[in-house]
Symmetry: C2
Subunit: 138 residues, 2 copies
């Protein structure tokens, strides 16, 4: 693990002058973005945005995730400073996961995206129907 080839430089660009090197493979933010938008990252963050959860609660909440992937995802997010892991030294062990302030900020942006897409799903579905009919025979 910790195999990212990240170097420490990136551009601080404005919204209008988009010259960021996210397009470059070597951009360090690309890996974080991948953790956030990855298959399980987004769902995990979404779940934690509602409330702080324990490992198996998360596992139940995020439909379809395996122990291994949840573990990996959580580690990546914790490493990036999006998730805080709080282990209580009790028996049986109890570990709570919660979003950091940064994590919450990212979660909100992510939710903005999700809502944007969900609110337009009828359009999407219609577009898909059109597309499939046009070249559906083939």
């Amino acid at each position: 693990m910790a195999s990212d080839t990240d170097t420490g430089s990136m551009s601080t660009d404005s919204f209008d002058s988009l010259a960021f090197d996210v397009f470059s493979r070597a951009c360090p933010s690309r890996s974080t973005l991948e953790h956030v938008t990855g298959r399980w990252g987004g769902l995990t963050i979404g779940a934690l945005y509602e409330e702080s959860l324990r490992f198996n609660e998360l596992r139940r909440r995020v439909d379809g995730v395996s122990e291994k992937m949840l573990s990996q995802t959580l580690h990546a997010l914790e490493r990036d400073g999006l998730v805080l892991r709080e282990a209580q030294p009790v028996n049986p062990p109890r570990v709570d996961y919660e979003l950091t302030p940064f994590g919450r900020e990212v979660a909100e942006k992510l939710l903005g995206l999700i809502h944007c897409v969900e609110g337009r799903m009828d359009e999407v579905l219609a577009s898909r129907a059109r597309y499939d009919e046009a070249r559906g025979g083939r």
Copy 2:
């Protein structure tokens, strides 16, 4: 292709009462979200947000994408109604890709996320350093 198992129902939830079934595997918006946030989807949309581009221009812009993946990505985005494909019947062929209004909206949300992360990359890097040092020996 067009192998999504999407059914046409989803929840229209508010930002506060998050009861969306995005967490469910069967949620139709999940596939669109995957197209948008996928490895190449986001970068492609980001590139097209700046300007309308042709196939090979895109290929050069999005560092590391293969012909096959760009083609696939573009088809998925076009099908979902995010990208408009305009083929001019000239020789040699010329095809321009541009974002639809919906595509631009999604792009903006996406850029919001990207900027949020990029603007905090120093934190991320610091967090990673801390994390790696803590359990770096292992």
